[in-house]
Symmetry: C2
Subunit: 132 residues, 2 copies
DNA sequence: AACATTATGTAATAATATAACATTAACAAG
DNA sequence: CTTGTTAATGTTATATTATTACATAATGTT
């Protein structure tokens, strides 16, 4: 389970916006949306985003430079993330598959490196887009 | 095996630079390095990078906005990539593990989406940094 | 030669992210 | 309740990453 964490004012404003959004949101789209609430500068957005990522409430989709709310209440605080991304409509979903996460969390290669964290992004066409 | 592909002048200059580099290179570091060879503008770099990524000679490390040469001659042309990244010294290696790539290439979740491509980035401490 | 495709050159600008510094809020210890 | 500490905020400026738009040249095909 995710640890409860009391969000600050800016963090809450920005989390609520991302959480309500159907798609991943970009930092400057967020900024534009929250300007009426008094958040005026990029840095205010990025600071809240950093914190929200750190505590696992949101994740960054690296290939898109965009952020989505964690859709997975049992997510290991941003340490192990997997997403499916439709290359046509850009729909993104967080993958919650215990076999996959177990497999990746236990993965070891021959480098002797032990991994404390991973991020996986799958690309393809979603059902809707495939049938077009 | 990777299909042979004749690189253009700019593509070759930029590929050679990345290929010789021990670490992933960022676009503007590349630009700085190739200015003496007549490549003056960011766009010239980005165009070459795009093509090199497309044909699988290099890969983008999304979490770092940086590029490395493919270290894996049997790599499925950028469709299936996995990397290990040391969070201390930033050393990056391409993982070449057939079990892993088979597992991920065949992965299906319950969304009905079939994936044509993936990118996986593992994070941790490399041997050297762990022993410090 | 005519056409299509790919690559290049150049300037301007857009989009993403951080540095530096000053101030304020929240919280715990004494 | 006040002192010290940490986390969060506000603000300006700037750094970094990436693309648009348009013109030209090289390459490959029929
Ligand atoms: Zn999650
Ligand atoms: Zn789709
Ligand atoms: Zn490769
Ligand atoms: Zn290291």
């Amino acid at each position: 389970m995710q640890k409860e964490y009391i969000l600050s004012k800016n963090q809450k404003i920005i989390f609520d916006l991302i959480d309500k959004s159907a798609e991943p949101m970009k930092a400057y789209a967020i900024l534009f949306n929250v300007q009426k609430k008094g958040i005026k500068a990029p840095l205010q957005v990025y600071r809240a985003l950093d914190k929200l990522v750190e505590i696992g409430k949101i994740h960054k989709i690296e290939s898109r430079n965009a952020f989505i709310a964690c859709q997975n209440s049992s997510c290991q605080i941003s340490k192990a993330t997997a997403f499916s991304i439709c290359e046509s409509c850009e729909k993104v979903s967080e993958i919650n598959n215990s076999k996959l996460s177990k497999y990746l969390s236990n993965f070891e290669d021959d480098s002797g490196m032990r991994y404390s964290k991973y991020n996986l992004e799958f690309f393809g066409l979603c059902k809707k887009c495939k049938s077009k």
